[in-house]
Amino acid sequence: MNLPHPELYGLLGEFDSPERLMDAAKKVREAGYRRIDAFVPFPVEGLSQALGLGRKHDLVPLLTLAGGLGGGLTGFFFQLWANMSSYPMNIAGRPLNSWPAFIPVTFELTVLGASLFAVFGMLALNKLPQPHHPLFNVERFKRASNDKFFLCIEAHDPKFHLKETARLLQSVNAQHVTEVRDED
């Protein structure tokens, strides 16, 4: 794809409250932009909906379920195999498949598998760790982890036009509009 500004990542609008940001996000979406993201210092309720991110966007619960099932099944069948097939040992005639005694370890490994998948799955889906990002070139963006709320319209968006998009951001009450450039 041929972009008019190859080094331009997008336009960043700054807001001073989550309510203003939400309002702006809704209007920008109504204007037809799709490649947008918001950057906030704490999770804001309803922001994902305002940006048009559906439930299907979130694979973390599914991954957690897979991790839990994987951990639990591995734990249980490993104990069964170790006691019944790998090294069967007759202790006072008790059954080799004494499954109730295998439950604590099965439970712990279920929780372990699910937790590891939840955390590392979340990081992988978020593509973290990611040391470099064009947004970090913007000095003002430091306040995204403090008290300011940002909305970014990416240059990849088919509707993106440097002047018009900047005007749109100003019209939805952005306090500052900054061009984000990827300078390597």
Partner: protein
């Protein structure tokens, strides 16, 4: 009493109901908490406290070195009392850790806003308590360098650990608990590490916090997945914390030893763990809020609520003691009846009476709001309960083991210098880690406090 006696909007009631003092904005919350780590100079008090704790930690290192050189014979354990201080301290430390998980996971699921400013350091406390706890069973094995035998690895001998043994369940429960607590803590820290990265002015701090923050930039897409991972972790940690102390109680209750073989152990151990854990959270919170002027964030409401949780769990523990006592007498089993007599009149009866005094009688002062809102009383109570819970584990481990079924198997247990030095050494390790934590990481979750500022604005 009619409703008119206490005006609902009196300033006193409002003061006790606040989870954050008024007048804070996103920026002031960020500044206040981040400055403790980034700009505040290291105080003389911090240096003095850390030096004392570090010295005690060196006592631990020395004790372990001597133990490895000489073997577990330097402790007071013998036959039949194979489980002396090592197990008492292990259970005590792991129990302390449980309050951190309760605050961060269970109170999160129950949507209790007052957890916000205390969850971070309570989780850190959990991790450090688990680290202290883990040392004891490890060195109690006598040959800690062989501890990997407890994990199922494909060995040339072709054998596996005994998966039907509560001691192996313990290995899985405690290692899972340590791992999940660390994950939960770290996930909670990511947004705050990004804040520290963005605010640090010193190059080394920028690089270190930058690496730890992993490039977090607060994207709405990221927060969305982050929140669902955090909620799921809370949901997983809740049954986990209950299972861990239940499994630890199985170490006792699955054995047939009198005083151990009872079905009340799992719930009573879990309640005791939360009881001692909240006491430890208070022991840490009270000096912390004073030293770093955090009274705006760790308010009277937090302290009072923790006191209420202690009162409630203390009553559950008292119920456990009563029914342990009652069921022994009611069962008519002569070994159980004898054990009760030994607790009341045996050689260790002074420990039992001290336990009742610390865990049941003294905490009843918490029924009074005047006491619950008196910081000095709360601090003393927290120390008394910590001591009481340690005594509880001593009574359970030692009295039962010294009074087995046959008089020929009876014995006495006397802790030695090395028992004490190892225990005090772990206190040093715990406090050293806490001191380092307060200096290097935000002791209160900044992102969650901003959220709290946002929601409390909505209410006004």
């Amino acid at each position: 009493m009619s409703a008119g006696d206490t005006p609902v909007n009196s300033p006193e009631i409002q003061r006790l109901a606040r989870v954050i003092e008024p007048g804070h904005s996103y920026a002031t919350v960020t500044d206040k908490i981040a400055s403790i780590v980034l700009t505040r100079p290291t105080s003389i008090g911090w240096l003095a406290g850390f030096s004392i704790a570090f010295t005690l930690m060196m006592v631990l290192v020395g004790s372990i070195a001597w133990l490895i050189a000489k073997g577990v014979g330097i402790w007071g354990i013998n036959i039949p009392i194979g489980w002396g201080f090592a197990i008492v301290n292990f259970v005590w430390w792991i129990g302390i850790g449980h309050a951190g998980t309760l605050i961060s996971a269970i109170l999160f699921l129950l949507n209790q806003q007052w957890r916000t400013s205390i969850n971070r350091f309570a989780e850190a406390m959990t991790l450090f308590a688990v680290a202290c706890a883990g040392i004891f069973p490890l060195i109690h094995t006598g040959r800690p360098w062989m501890a990997y035998y407890m994990f199922p690895y494909p060995s040339t001998m072709g054998i596996w650990p005994q998966f039907r043994s509560p001691l192996i369940w313990d290995v899985f429960a405690v290692s899972t608990y340590g791992t999940v607590s660390a994950l939960f803590w770290f996930v909670g820290l990511i947004p705050d590490l990004a804040t520290l990265r963005d605010r640090a002015t010193n190059k080394a701090a920028q690089i270190i916090y930058g690496m730890l923050a992993m490039g977090w930039r607060g994207s709405a897409r990221h927060w969305h997945r982050y929140q669902s991972a955090y909620l799921l972790l809370a949901g997983l940690a809740t049954p986990l914390v209950l299972s861990v102390h239940s499994v630890i109680s199985f170490d006792f209750s699955i054995a047939i030893v009198p005083g151990w073989h009872t079905t009340i152990f799992p719930p009573y151990f879990v309640a005791g763990a939360i009881y001692s854990g909240f006491a430890m959270v208070l022991t840490i919170a009270i000096p912390l809020r004073k030293a770093y002027d955090l009274e705006d964030f760790i308010t009277m409401r937090h302290l009072e609520n923790m006191a209420k949780v202690m009162l409630a769990t203390g009553l559950i523990v008292a119920y456990g003691y009563f029914f342990e006592f009652f069921m022994s007498l009611y069962s008519g089993n002569k070994f159980d009846v004898f054990l009760v007599q030994q607790r009341l009149h045996g050689p260790y009866s002074s420990y039992y009476y001290a336990l009742i005094l610390c865990n049941i009688l003294t905490p009843q002062v918490l029924w009074f709001q005047k006491m619950r809102t008196n910081v000095a009383v709360l601090f003393v109570m927290s120390l008394v309960i910590n001591l009481g819970m340690w005594l509880e584990r001593f009574v359970i481990v030692v009295i039962s083991l010294t009074r087995d079924f046959m008089p020929s198997a009876w014995g006495r247990y006397q802790p030695t210098f090395w028992d004490w030095s190892t225990f005090i050494g772990t206190l040093g390790l715990f406090v050293s880690l806490l001191f380092l934590f307060v200096r290097a990481l935000p002791a209160i979750s900044i992102a969650e406090m901003r959220e709290l500022v946002h929601t409390s604005e909505d209410h006004e």
